[in-house]
């Protein structure tokens, strides 16, 4: 276990609802070493955002961490009080959201909104704060920063707003940036620019990034390692190249097979069935009902094991192949 960066150890999240307790995240472990971009991939509702929110201490009403720990540079932040969480949110961990359109306060000028983060976490005097804000605005590639400083969010385009969000997140030079589907609401050209920006920020600030996405193209572009989530569990974890060249879990294989490709003309495959609801989690392997390889063995919990150095898979069949 590394000392630097974020370590999520066996994290479980319980959500109290009227229909009983649900577990959107169960026993998730992952590591984000300092300066790395780690992808968290999975379809909607598989627990990606819940994992991110528990790291931020922003679980929705009724949600709580029911097991495991989150370490930031060796400190257990999963046991932090809300007040302690507030002091590290924005300064050591920060987050950018999916919808840049709605994530900015519409009645406050963007410069002021960025400045507010500085006000909260530093004691830089007022005159210098504006300089800092302008500097970070230039850093994230906002043209005419002086003019944009006084702009309201509705006067900016989607890409610029996302840049403002990134400026807010990066102004205190946090160790970890959580990006919750940062490019989903943007068109592809802007997506490419934003990803490029995140990569250059990672290099200049040595910030680690947890990139949540359902877009494997985004993963292929900038991630170092990837975690694939299915129904609250990590089913496969490996470096990026291994994921695309040698996917081992049937779910990952299914995901990759359902990407359209120009160099093949056969019909696009898809993963059959749908994700079962969280209150009806199947016994044993959670993917068994939809898995082409499923056997009787899959009704028991599959082991999470290293099949190749640095390549972890949660599947009975993958272990067999290796043995």
């Amino acid at each position: 276990m590394t000392e630097n960066g974020l370590v999520v150890d066996n994290l479980s999240v319980t959500l109290k609802t009227r229909d009983g307790d649900l577990m959107p995240v169960s026993c998730v472990s992952m590591e984000i070493p300092q300066g790395c971009i780690v992808g968290l991939v999975g379809e909607s509702g598989c627990g990606k955002s819940m994992t991110a929110r528990s790291v931020m201490g922003l679980l929705p009403y009724g949600g709580s961490i029911s097991g495991g720990h989150i370490f930031l540079d060796g400190t257990d932040i999963s046991a932090f009080t809300p007040k302690q969480m507030r002091s590290i949110n924005g300064s050591r961990i920060s987050m950018i959201f999916q919808e840049p359109m709605t994530s900015l306060n519409p009645v406050v000028r963007v410069g002021k909104q960025i400045e507010e983060v500085l006000l909260l976490h530093t004691d830089i005097p007022k005159e210098q704060r504006k300089e800092h804000v302008l500097e970070i605005m230039r850093e994230v590639g906002i043209p005419e920063a002086e003019r944009r400083y006084r702009a309201y969010p509705f006067e900016l385009s989607g890409g610029l707003r996302q840049r403002v969000m990134i400026a807010m997140a990066m102004i205190c030079k946090p160790e970890l940036l959580i990006a919750d589907e940062p490019t989903t609401a943007l068109d592809v050209t802007i997506e490419a620019q934003i990803l490029k920006l995140m990569e250059s920020l990672r290099r200049s600030f040595n910030t680690s990034v947890l990139l949540i996405t359902h877009n494997l193209g985004v993963v292929a572009r900038i991630c170092d390692t990837v975690n694939v989530m299915y129904m609250g569990q990590i089913v496969e974890s490996c470096v990026k190249t291994a994921l695309f060249e040698n996917p081992q879990h049937p779910y990952t294989q299914g995901l990759l097979a359902s990407l359209p490709r120009l160099d093949r003309s056969e019909r696009l495959t898809n993963i059959k069935g749908t994700v079962p609801p969280l209150n009806a989690v199947p016994e044993g392997c959670r993917f068994a009902d939809r898995c082409p390889l499923a056997t009787g063995l899959c009704r028991t919990d599959p082991p999470y094991q290293e099949t190749e150095p640095g390549h972890f898979v949660r599947c009975h069949h993958c272990s067999k192949k290796e043995a």
């Binding site: 949110n89 919808e99 406050v108 909260l120």
Partner: protein
């Protein structure tokens, strides 16, 4: 050409507030109502300068009773020979005082209660809202009448009565507005930056909720002016000889068949003021709501 165009664009003020002002200015009815309101406000403020309170408004003169409107007495005189114009503009002070003061106090209380209920939710929300619901079960006038009956008629009791009776409405309104803002993404984004609760409520939630709240206030002022006049009409508010529109109207009803101008003046004053507040409120609602904008 190009330079001229750029200059034009520059001269238009930017921002939310300026936008709202521009939209409001385009609404002719609302602007007319606002002009009348300002006129009423000015006459009420300078009532002492325009008409002397002791000699014209309170002093009775039986020889001059129930005169029709003339150059000397613009609105005529009442059954005690007092100048009606003077009584109306002095009466405006009471009506405006009730309308604005009661709204301000109940708004302040309602904002605190409603915002707390909406932001924290859960049991706090339940306690505040169930008490509000209980108070709201009692009809507005009945509640106000009860409080006046306990405290005795007069300016202070009337203010308290009307304020207490209108707090639940404000609480409910503020809560619903705040609830719709709390669920927005930028509140979560603010939380993710480590912003404190109080800063979120005052810095992010209330500025976004202020529009509908102001509109509601304008409407509420109209309602309060009418209920204050109503209570005084019933003899539960301001007592004669103090010039209050409601009590003036109630007295004038005795002569309504023979000398209708007394009742008409008092009634028209109430109606016009309330109508103007309503129209301004409507205009603001149109100006603020982006969906109704061009």
């Amino acid at each position: 050409m190009n330079r001229k165009k750029r200059k034009e664009i520059k001269s238009i003020p930017k921002g939310h507030f300026a936008d709202i002002c521009r939209n409001f200015a385009r609404n002719k009815t609302a602007m007319a109502a606002l002009a009348v309101l300002i006129l009423i406000l000015i006459t009420a403020l300078f009532a002492d300068v325009i008409v002397d309170y002791r000699t014209k408004v309170l002093a009775q003169d039986p020889r001059m009773r129930l005169l029709s409107p003339s150059a000397e007495h613009w609105f005529g005189t009442d059954n005690f020979g007092r100048d009606l114009f003077g009584r109306i503009i002095h009466g405006a002070r009471y009506s405006l005082f009730f309308g604005i003061a009661c709204t301000a106090i109940s708004l302040a209380v309602g904002c605190v209660l409603g915002a707390t209920a909406a932001y924290y939710g859960g049991i706090i929300d339940n306690i505040i809202m169930r008490i509000t619901d209980t108070v709201m079960c009692i009809p507005f006038l009945l509640l106000a009448l009860t409080i006046v009956a306990v405290g005795g008629p007069g300016l202070r009791t009337l203010t308290i009565a009307i304020t207490v009776a209108s707090v639940p409405g404000f609480t409910r309104m503020v809560r619903s507005v705040v609830l719709s803002v709390v669920s927005k993404d930028f509140i979560e984004a603010a939380k993710s930056c480590g912003t404190k609760d109080a800063a979120i409520i005052f810095g992010h939630i209330l500025p976004n909720a202020i529009g509908p709240v102001i509109v509601n206030c304008m409407m509420n002022i109209a309602g309060i002016i009418m209920s204050a006049a109503g209570l005084s009409y019933l003899g539960m508010g301001i007592q004669p000889p103090t010039p209050e529109w409601g009590s003036m109207l109630s007295e004038a009803m005795k002569y309504f068949r023979t000398y209708p101008h007394v009742a008409v003046c008092a009634g028209a004053a109430i109606m016009i003021t309330a109508l103007c507040f309503n129209l301004v409120g409507d205009g603001l609602a149109d100006a603020i709501d982006p969906k109704r904008r061009r």
